[in-house]
């Protein structure tokens, strides 16, 4: 007779090993960053932190009145918070199932252990963890703050009960269509809203009863129509995405099929209109959606830079910001352009690079909107006779730099190591002229020269 270890033992074995692996990884990072000197400083710092805890007692005493005020209102608004809390889980269900069923649990289910039992074990573990976390927070608040124990216990109980009650609805809602999620969300939001305006206590009790009924209803089909692959992917990401490790190793954890949302749109499943433009446009969309983190960081930082500089009283700083934005945006786009052809399928396909360049530009304009908003607003707030020329100058200079840098990348992709020295130098001159426009606005008439330069190098000017 084959004896197999109880599920609990195997489950615990996996948990222990996962924990050990994480500790090992953090240890490696720690050893990488912390030498003996830093360790001594850290030791001193922790000493200060411990002393700080005692000082915190005084600090909390200083703010006793405010804390008592919060305590009083926490009692008053208890039912309102109870009404609003489930909505948080409805929102969460759009992107997370709430139960971490990772590839380890998935593998475990391939052994002779029922998937359902493993799932319940994960859920019990989750509840236990929450009980401990809320317990510790509650204990801290009761010991070190003037909050009344009753209020703390009330809230602890509320959070724990809601977490338990919402586990199954969140799990099931995660697997329903977006429309169903919205319908459920709106229904509960309406009850919450009415409840807040009328009788929060009654509304909260009604909501809890409703959620309880949902639990009963969903329990019958708990494991029907479940996208296990998606759950595993998200859970793996949740467990193994460790920013500190990513930073140290330089390798970012990426989910394989991150942008599934696009694939569920029926229109995107249809065959292409058989044109290069349509196909390339989609390829860029796929590429940029994969690079969305970097794209958002780039656009956000440049837009942020211009917004901040727009409020600085020295005009030249704003113009310097514009120069930096034009230069960085065109450079990073050129890097993206090259990268696109060095991975995946495109690496082995023949490239119609001029067409790719044109279709890429359409996405470049879309991406530039958040950067253009502060720029154009600034220009309009400082409007003068020269403003249209200045805008034209910035626009054509960007186009010139875009074409120059992309052509450079095309040459590199074609194993031709030309540097485009003249065009790069000219690009730098245009950037310098943009900067000088703050003082000598007539320089903006230089856009005619930019246009001429583009024609000279036979580049098509795209008047988007």
């Amino acid at each position: 007779m084959i004896r197999r270890p109880p599920l609990w033992d195997t489950y615990l074995f996996i948990r222990k090993n996962r924990f050990r692996k994480k500790i090992k990884m953090y240890k490696m990072v720690f050893q990488m960053f912390v030498d003996r000197t830093i360790a001594i400083y850290l030791f001193l710092l922790s000493g200060y932190a411990i002393i700080g805890l005692f000082i915190a007692g005084d600090f909390i005493r200083d703010y006793e009145a405010e804390l008592l005020f919060i305590d009083k209102h926490a009692t008053t608004f208890f039912w309102s918070i109870a009404v609003l809390l489930p909505l948080w889980f409805f929102v969460q269900s759009f992107r997370h199932p709430g139960v971490l069923f990772s590839s380890s649990e998935d593998q475990l289910s391939l052994l002779p252990y029922p998937r359902q039992r493993i799932w319940w074990l994960v859920v019990y573990e989750k509840w236990l963890k929450q009980l401990m976390i809320y317990g510790m927070i509650g204990l801290f608040l009761m010991l070190f703050t003037p909050f009344s124990s009753v209020v703390v216990l009330q809230y602890m109980l509320l959070f724990i009960v809601m977490n338990v009650l919402m586990t199954i609805p969140q799990w099931k809602l995660f697997h329903t269509s977006v429309v169903m999620k919205i319908i459920f969300g709106l229904f509960f939001a309406a009850i919450a809203f009415i409840g807040l305006l009328t009788f929060p206590k009654i509304a909260a009790i009604m909501l809890v009863m409703g959620i309880f009924m949902l639990n009963v209803r969903f329990s019958r089909t708990l494991f029907h129509d479940i996208q296990w692959g998606r759950v595993v992917e998200l859970s793996d990401e949740h467990i193994w995405k460790m920013p500190l490790i990513d930073k140290a190793s330089g390798i970012t954890y990426r989910r394989k099929n991150k942008h599934r949302i696009f694939r569920n749109i029926p229109f995107l499943k249809k065959p292409f209109t058989y044109t290069t433009k349509a196909i390339h446009r989609r390829l860029w969309m796929i590429y940029f959606s994969k690079q969305i983190d970097s794209v958002l960081k780039l656009i956000g930082s440049l837009a942020g830079l211009l917004i901040v500089l727009a409020f600085v009283k020295r005009d030249w700083l704003m113009w310097l910001g514009i120069v930096i934005s034009v230069s960085i945006y065109s450079s990073v786009i050129a890097r993206f352009f090259k990268d696109h052809f060095q991975s995946d399928l495109l690496n082995v396909l023949p490239w119609d690079l001029s067409s790719f360049k044109k279709t890429c530009l359409q996405w470049v304009w879309i991406g530039s909107i958040p950067i253009l908003i502060p720029l154009v607003t600034y220009m309009l707030l400082h409007i003068s006779f020269w403003t249209p020329f200045q805008l034209l100058f910035i626009y054509y200079s960007f186009l010139f730099l875009y074409h120059t840098k992309i052509d450079h990348m095309i040459a590199l992709l074609n194993h031709k190591y030309e540097f485009f020295q003249k065009r790069h130098t000219l690009g730098l001159i245009f950037l310098l002229m943009i900067f000088l426009c703050s003082r000598y606005p007539f320089l903006s008439l230089g856009f005619v020269f930019v246009l001429w330069s583009m024609k000279k190098w036979n580049r098509r000017v795209v008047l988007a």
Binding site: L268, K269, P271, I286, V348, L349
Partner: protein
């Protein structure tokens, strides 16, 4: 015709390929054979330009040099990788269209070719599926159709029969023979030696990144027997 002369490739000063020289004539099928890690897939990737070479020359029809213009060179090669390189965001049909446009195949010709290949690989009801919803064999078929769509002078195939059902294997063999009759130079890697003998005209045996032996397929058994002894 594919001409490979003194090709060397390396990663971090570790040689992957050393002094590889051979050519595949018009309409000939050459089989790259060798143990795992001998450098077969690396050689194909170097010919396509996915892996850079550190020395040597790769030419097509004695005119198109990989070093002169990789972009033009790529137009002349169709490559079937061992692992399908499909984009998870595109359906099978969209992949075919992408290949069609990349190799500048006119729409009506694409439709004609697709009809035959899709039917041959029994993929009619999978055209609007995403790769992740397809089985491994089906994904392999999608990649095979993509690669067989264009009429390039050179066709590179890495482990073509792996993961395919017997019907698909026969159909693929038929297409390879047909392409070779039309004058395409074909270089393929495989571990299925019985199939090699059925479709190849010559063989190139690799060992640790070097050519160990080369010759007509009729000599293959003799050479193989000698090497196993």
């Amino acid at each position: 015709m594919l001409h490979v002369q003194g090709v060397r490739a390396e990663i971090s000063n570790k040689p992957l390929l050393e002094d590889i020289t051979f050519h595949v004539e018009f309409g000939m099928v050459a089989a790259l054979v060798g143990h795992n890690g001998a450098g077969k897939s690396t050689l194909l990737k170097t010919i396509v330009g996915v892996l850079p070479k550190s020395a040597g020359k790769i030419m097509i029809n004695e005119t198109y040099d990989q070093d002169q213009s990789l972009i033009t060179f790529k137009q002349l090669i169709s490559y079937l990788p061992e692992e399908p390189l499909l984009l998870p965001e595109l359906t099978a049909m969209q992949h075919f269209q992408l290949y069609g446009k990349s190799y500048q195949i006119a729409e009506n010709r694409l439709t004609e070719r697709l009809e035959r290949l899709v039917e041959g690989f029994e993929m009619q009801d999978k055209l609007n599926e995403y790769p992740e919803t397809l089985s491994k064999g089906m994904r392999q078929k999608v990649q095979a159709i993509c690669t067989l769509l264009p009429d390039t002078p050179v066709l590179l195939i890495d482990e073509p029969f792996m993961g395919l059902d017997i019907h698909a294997v026969h159909f693929l063999e038929e297409i390879i023979k047909e392409k070779s009759r039309k004058g395409t130079s074909i270089l393929l890697t495989t571990h299925q030696l019985d199939r090699v003998k059925a479709i190849a005209d010559s063989f190139i045996m690799l060992q640790e990144g070097r050519i160990k032996s080369i010759g007509p397929i009729t000599d293959f058994d003799t050479i193989q027997g000698r090497s196993t002894k």
